[in-house]
Symmetry: C2
Subunit: 154 residues, 2 copies
Amino acid sequence: MGATAEHDVEQLRARLNDYMAKHGLRSTEQRRLVTEMFFATSEHLSIEDLLDRVRIEEPKIGYATVYRTLKLLKECGLAFERHFGDGVSRYEVAWQDEHHDHLICIECEKIIEFEDDAIEELQHNVASGLGFKLVRHKLELYGVCADCQAKAQD
Amino acid sequence: MGATAEHDVEQLRARLNDYMAKHGLRSTEQRRLVTEMFFATSEHLSIEDLLDRVRIEEPKIGYATVYRTLKLLKECGLAFERHFGDGVSRYEVAWQDEHHDHLICIECEKIIEFEDDAIEELQHNVASGLGFKLVRHKLELYGVCADCQAKAQD
DNA sequence: TTAGGTGCAAACGTTTTGCAACTTG
DNA sequence: CAAGTTGCAAAACGTTTGCACCTAA
């Protein structure tokens, strides 16, 4: 709801250009369109979702280009790939200053993002207790949201 | 390492028979073989893994039967489906008295299971703080295990 | 000019399904 | 016997790839 933090898209562009320059990759019309479209969303988009949006502006863009572009964004750490049970990969912008986990309603499929430092700290404890150096984690909570609990009361 | 808890396979059989009776499903030779084979493992098996094992005893069993049987086990809550990044679904016995999360080494792919009550409690807090009734969760920690850290020092 | 990118369609690997033959209750 | 189950092969699904043509640098 409301004011999403003012994320720094400019910084994402810079990081992408940097990566592309370093790897001899080119900035094409399609790549720009797909990445800008992606950076402009705050949701968890499937390839198909993104393709649909991109095609509003440029109907000739193909599946493969979107796949390849998101693969690129994944590689340079600007997108995260998520899997929520159905067979589809969803992608999310990797804002550098932000980490969050997901709370998913099993009735209406609503997805809420959250962060909890206490949980993160415990995760580090668990990992180091087992000899691991923790690099990243994935936490998904599944439950019934307030709305759906209310509905179920009928 | 060593002594896995004495899990109650008998109870799984009972729950399965119960579910099958309630739904007018039948106990066939193949179904029994696949489920027994599955209940007897403690690993995260792919369909292919399980099929290979089952075919040692009964070479004529087909992919579809194993898929269908695991779908059944999922439905009645006796198996969990897991996705660890590669495109393959893996299955794990849902021992009723046990819940654990996963710690995965990103170098050698080793998977360690763990439980942490403190984390679980915080998860409940987070969920209810956002109005959710928590039903289940998935927590995966990715890092580098002690062995691989040692190897990296060379 | 040339390495890299695109769009298409075909290939891929996993999972699901339609169907005729076969079991189970 | 009726309804559920099997094995097969074909279909479906999301994703990746080969290739001829195009385009940024």
